[in-house]
């Protein structure tokens, strides 16, 4: 293999790792995918190291070492891309196309369109509404929860455009979502704010992190598990603080919900 091709292979594996992490894969899946691709191209001696914010790859080719690292900042959760990346990884291992061709395939997967914004807004609203019903709310509660869901999506969307951190984003989103039902309740509407708030915070609860933490522990990636666990705790705290703001204000002013 020429050094050019080795470089391309390195780029391919790093990009694959980055995309997997950004779309909600467990760390062992990231490391294993990179290792398998490298093995398929005849680099069984490769070193792969990944944590949620970084991937480091090293290939030894004859006398030379090729190393590349990528820093990962943002993460979106796109389970469809995760599935397709997983398929692509199998395909690359099976067919071992030239690295440049494989990179093209990877690009078509990562550039595939996500749902339009209106679908996403609608989904947020419906999730909040159905979880409110789920937690024992009435139809009127569900209608308010739908609005809360839209508010969460709007807040998270605009905060991510401002590059705000996770903590501040979740504080703002949950304060906003709790403000709507408490305000309507204070205006005298016969709704149950607690059911609405519980239904809507399901949107912010870090489900992916909770699920992946233990899968990472089992695979022996304790460093990743600790990072993710910290994320879970910080998000839970942010949600609690955000909700406490409007609910606490009402408690102080009016003496209880």
């Amino acid at each position: 293999m020429t050094s050019d091709e080795t470089e391309q292979l390195l780029d391919l594996c790093c990009e694959m790792g980055r995309q997997l992490i950004q779309n909600g894969a467990e760390i062992y899946r990231v490391e294993e995918s990179a290792r398998r691709i490298l093995a398929a191209y005849g680099h069984a001696e490769a070193e792969v190291f990944a944590i949620p914010s970084c991937v480091i790859l090293n290939i030894r080719d004859g006398q030379r070492n090729y190393t590349k690292s990528v820093r990962i900042r943002s993460s979106s959760n796109d389970l469809d891309k995760l599935d397709r990346l997983n398929d692509l990884c199998r395909q690359i291992c099976r067919e071992t196309p030239p690295p440049s061709e494989a990179a093209g395939l990877l690009e078509t997967v990562t550039n595939s369109p996500s749902y339009p914004a209106c679908v996403s807004f609608l989904a947020h609203g419906c999730v909040a509404a159905f979880f409110t019903l789920f937690w024992g709310g009435r139809a009127s509660d569900a209608a308010v929860a739908f609005l809360c869901g839209l508010a969460v999506k709007a807040t998270v969307g605009s905060m991510s455009r401002l590059n705000a951190n996770v903590f501040f984003t979740d504080v703002c989103a949950s304060a906003f979502l709790a403000f709507i039902p408490t305000a309507l309740f204070c205006l005298g509407l016969p709704i149950r704010p607690d059911r609405i708030i519980i239904g809507a915070i399901m949107l912010l609860v870090p489900g992916i992190a909770i699920t992946n933490v233990m899968r990472d522990v089992i695979a022996g990636d304790f460093l990743t598990a600790i990072t993710k666990f910290a994320e879970v705790m910080i998000v839970a705290m942010a949600i609690a603080i955000g909700i406490a703001l409007p609910v606490g204000a009402v408690k102080a002013l009016l003496g209880g919900l």
């Binding site: 389970l79 995760l82 599935d83 419906c126 019903l133 609690a240 909700i243």
Partner: protein
């Protein structure tokens, strides 16, 4: 029948989550949503049979096994089905009531709800980890084979 209505809501809410998490294949959306419904159905059926944390544990094991099976059959990562299926079990209510107890200054209630919430989250984590480790043990052979160039 009224008692099982929440299962339907869980299915619909999980369907919404599929859209948020960009699950696109219709079959996957269906299976993820049904997994969410099953998780609440098992939870309801275990009512009064065993304590709260054990209920969460058994429930998570059932959902995880289903997710692993779906993953094997459809050749997709198990996390996709697991993430969406677990969501109805995530103690959002516990988080809210813990916060409310803290606000009202009721330390005893705060400690109790906080512990209960942590126990539920812990039970989910243990359930997921038990099934994942079993799955890894069972399918290790594939991994070793896969490493050969």
């Amino acid at each position: 029948m009224e008692r099982f209505l929440p299962c339907l809501y869980a299915v619909l809410a999980c369907g919404g989550f599929c859209l948020i998490f960009e699950v696109k294949k219709p079959l996957f959306v269906l299976l993820c949503s049904l997994n969410g419904g099953v998780s609440w159905l098992v939870y309801l059926l275990l009512e009064g049979v065993c304590p709260q944390a054990t209920r969460y544990l058994i429930d998570t094991i059932v959902v995880s096994v289903l997710a692993e099976l779906m993953a094997r059959v459809l050749k997709a990562p198990a996390t996709i089905f697991l993430i969406v299926g677990i969501i109805p079990l995530v103690p959002g209510g516990g988080l809210y009531y813990t916060m409310e107890a803290l606000l009202s200054g009721d330390t005893a209630l705060f400690a109790r709800t906080a512990l209960e919430t942590a126990a539920c989250a812990g039970a989910i984590a243990v359930g997921v980890s038990m099934v994942s480790s079993l799955a890894r043990l069972l399918f290790r052979k594939h991994l070793v084979e896969g490493r050969q160039p």
